[in-house]
Symmetry: C2
Subunit: 210 residues, 2 copies
């Protein structure tokens, strides 16, 4: 009997960071290199951007439809940012975890707090920090399509997000995207050997001491 | 500023397993490949074996000297196995951790419980399981110098040790020594990015949001 035959429960991996710290790139790379991961696709009431795809980046729904999901308890977490609502559908996540698949979340500190309240044992949270203040500002300003007001708003949001770094299990400073990717891989691989994720271990051990 | 300049506190890495599950080999390899680790050398009242070196495998001391250390609170944990006492000197461990060095412990479930009581935040515990009952028995019997009584005694101790697997943070089934070594490396690397081990992060983050 090899380790791979031991039944396991998936993890909920949360990546949070201020906008511009490389989180989106790191999430994309993890999904490309680790076939056991699926992305949690959030629902949102905000407008779809031109580059976004419904059902892939977000499910874009009406405020009324959003409220109905909240009322029916269909969201694992939800929050409002800049007047728009965002939430995580519960069912696909629970289905994946029970099959031993891991689910990746690109959510902010508010969502992370709610996930931890509802599923502490399943959540692994990583906060990505930019290497310096100057680098963060440079990255936030380099999105050409944004107005100065949007940049200022995002800077304020970045400060707010960073202030919650100490609520996360792991913290990675992204001073090199390749190195940061490797660190996330270490964390993911290690977490797979956490005792409480290997739900088949009790059965395995009974065979050892029988 | 790079991640390596962020002040950190070392971890206390505990490897436990029944005798014959490969723990000693895995500990040796980790010490050889990871320069940040030092081994915690225990004190014991048992006789030195021919192959053992004082101050390297153990500090071999008298029962009176052992008792004096317990009375003065100089041991982080201590236990009695087969009539002999074993204990972990506190001072070298605390010195190493505060310098950001990691310390490796080859101790049993009794010692692990005591370490966790005294230093929960610092302890990372890994339990190594043999791949099967047959393989465990084969490994226990293959030590030519042992009498059948010693083998039987060790088998009983193995069952007792295995029964405590669920008290550990991580569990690794050693069905391949190279694979098990890699898994330990993942765990060690991941644990270094735990928020609470990077004691310099508060200072770093103050620079980001200033």
């Amino acid at each position: 009997m090899t380790l791979t035959t031991i039944k396991r429960r998936g993890m909920m991996l949360v990546l949070s960071s201020p906008s511009g710290a490389g989180k989106t790139t790191l999430a994309k790379r993890l999904l490309e290199t680790d076939q056991n991961f699926t992305m949690s696709v959030s629902v949102t009431t905000r407008e779809k951007r031109q580059t976004e795809v419904h059902g892939q980046d977000y499910y874009f729904i009406s405020p009324a439809a959003f409220k109905a999901k909240v009322d029916r308890g269909e969201l694992l977490e939800h929050a409002t940012v800049f007047g728009h609502s965002y939430g995580t559908p519960r069912e696909p996540v629970e289905e994946a975890l029970s099959q031993g698949l891991d689910v990746l979340f690109d959510i902010d500190w508010q969502g992370t707090q709610q996930l931890k309240e509802k599923a502490r044992e399943d959540v692994v949270s990583i906060f990505i920090l930019p290497p310096s203040r100057g680098e963060l500002e440079r990255r936030l300003k380099s999105r050409a399509q944004d107005t100065p007001e949007v940049v200022a708003q995002r800077m304020a949001k970045a400060n707010d997000e960073i202030s919650h770094w100490a609520e996360y299990d792991y913290v990675i400073v992204n001073d090199d995207i390749q190195a940061a990717e490797t660190k996330i891989t270490f964390i993911v691989e290690a977490e797979r050997f956490k005792r409480n994720r290997q739900t088949g271990l009790s059965t395995f051990v009974r065979g050892l001491i029988a």
